[in-house]
Amino acid sequence: MLKNLSKWTTAFTVSIFASLSVAQAADEKITVLTWNLPVYGEKINGWIADFHEQHPDVEVEWIDKKGSEWATFFQTQLAAGTPPDVVNIQGALWAEYAANEQLLDLGPYLKNDPDFSGRFVDGALDLWTTDDGKSYMVPWYFNRTLLYLNKSMLAEAGIEKTPATFDELMAAADKMKGEGKSGFLTANFDWLYWPLFKMNGVDILNEDMSKAAFNTPEALETLTALAEATKSGAINNISWTGRWVEPNTAFASRNVGMYMAPNSALFWAASKADWINDENVEVVDAPGDWWTPNHHGWGVSASTKYPDAAVDLIKIATSDKWQETMSSTFSILTLNKNVDPMLIEKFTTEDPLKAKILTAAGSKLDKITGYLKSPVEARVKDAFWTSVQPALLGQVDPQKALDAAEAKVNRVLTRR
């Protein structure tokens, strides 16, 4: 009986193993991980074809994960010691992996290949360069915050001058509020709301990123003003609760006077609402010209077995040929010297608003704020935001919120 059973069990186990386990990867293979681009498959297959011309013997595997699950996947792969070779990382997340020595310094590759390093807009590479001069990523596509003005609402409220300071911005927002209408809206994920603080001279951290620097009287004033404006309806409270769809939709519904968001957000809204065009929308820099990026770059895992091949794939991905496709598919800047002007040129007649927005997005690259090249960036963000969000929504006293945020952020910076 026992014999029978074990025989049966073995047979069963063997058969399911045989039928369902997939043979593990081929010998030479590099894996590419993208962020939230399942629709781009065809084009990525194009890169792979180009790549095979150079490396006929190296297989390429492409994986895409949605933004919210990207980190979960990547971290698990890191833990297992099998990170994808070529990774597309959003925002400042790379700093953490770089600090943990999980990303390759691309500096030598950039130095050895002037064509590679020379294809990017001046200053573009700095976005991913650390203080000690290491370049961990190269640009793939670039978004940054701008201020979009709903012209008809501004005209209705009798506002002729574009707000140039925080106070003017708040005053204008207040004038435009009304039944179902609000004056100002911002996207808030990552640090996208930070220009509001920066235009009042508030920084997140001090110079050497060792301590919180935001608990100042200016910050208190800013926070109080934002909370009051939110309460009065001058600021749409989706600013502090929405993610992506919600704020974009709110602006698209034409009831919001001013919208501070990355350019891709506006294009998304424009694809849903016809009224968003050159006639009805003006685009300007936020007061003080401050902006926060929402950008994507390419890096190579430090543990890759084929660093040269991985870099070659990145070169293909950032080449003029494929960046042209990228830029025209998504109407997006690539920080590629040759490609971006062509894209803007193409839109000047076809869609003047897009041309204007992209021109603005590609300028004043030094006015960046809310971008921490810190390994604990995500923790600082979480500590700050979970304390300050309730204050913005009128749940907590602003000073208490700032104190709590400061304590938490400082603890994040000192703990291991």
Partner: protein, 302 residues
Amino acid sequence: MFLKPKTKRNREIAFIWMLLLPALMVYLFYRIIPLLWNFVLSFSFWSPGKPFEYAGLYHYEEMLFYDDAFWTALKNTAVFMLATPISIAIALGLALLVDQKIRGRSLYRTLIFLPYPMMVVAVGIVWRWLYNDSVGLINYVLRSLGLIDQPIAFLESYSFAMASVMVAAIWQIVGFFMIILLTGLQNIPAHLYEAAVIDGARAHHRFWRITLPLLRPSIFLCVILGVIASFTSFDLIYTMTGGGPGLATELLITYIYKASFTLSRFDYAAAVTIVMFFLFLTLATVANRLAGGDAGKVDIAD
């Protein structure tokens, strides 16, 4: 004479373990070993690709004295768990109704159960949209009935977010509980009621004295499934609110996930996991005592 039964008994025991082993292996690999790993991790500093480093009670201290998010998540979890007794109460009411000899009762049973097989991610997407403040159905209905003037952003409001998520969770599971309780109801021997009627017991007496005590195993099963469901509610919270606004709907399980993968503090998340495990274990032991002691008896058909 003496040896033979012993070997027979031995063989029987070996056979029993043969039967048990495959299932136990699954739990060993995917529950117990990971738990031990978490246990070790909770006393270390670690991040993916780094070696373990002894940390002592660092993470536990952090949790107890510095991390208000943990306490909020704990409190929210306690609140969220109320969804289980609420669903059981509603399910019991429904079970009593569909247990009666009425026309179309099997149709009612089916329809009420229908939400349960739905994928939680899809349920989250749908409910998020029903709750939407500008175009959501719920706001539309409330506004057209004149109950509210201003639309309510349910999932973005501190006061409503948790309740809104709980409504969705209850909506999904209540039919399942109803079926389990219905099973229990139908297994209560009819003669007990008949005897009670003869004794002159009123309806509510019969309910409290006969129905409820005899339903205890079924109710306990619901409680256990409810606890498991509150783990899987991760998907629901994750798709509906992501724990927000602020920490208003952050549960322990979503907090563990966030600490691990968003903040890459796996070591700290492990400590929270261990605390959560012992909390639930205590809770289950207490519930088990209340249910009569033998959790093994728990079942649908008893």
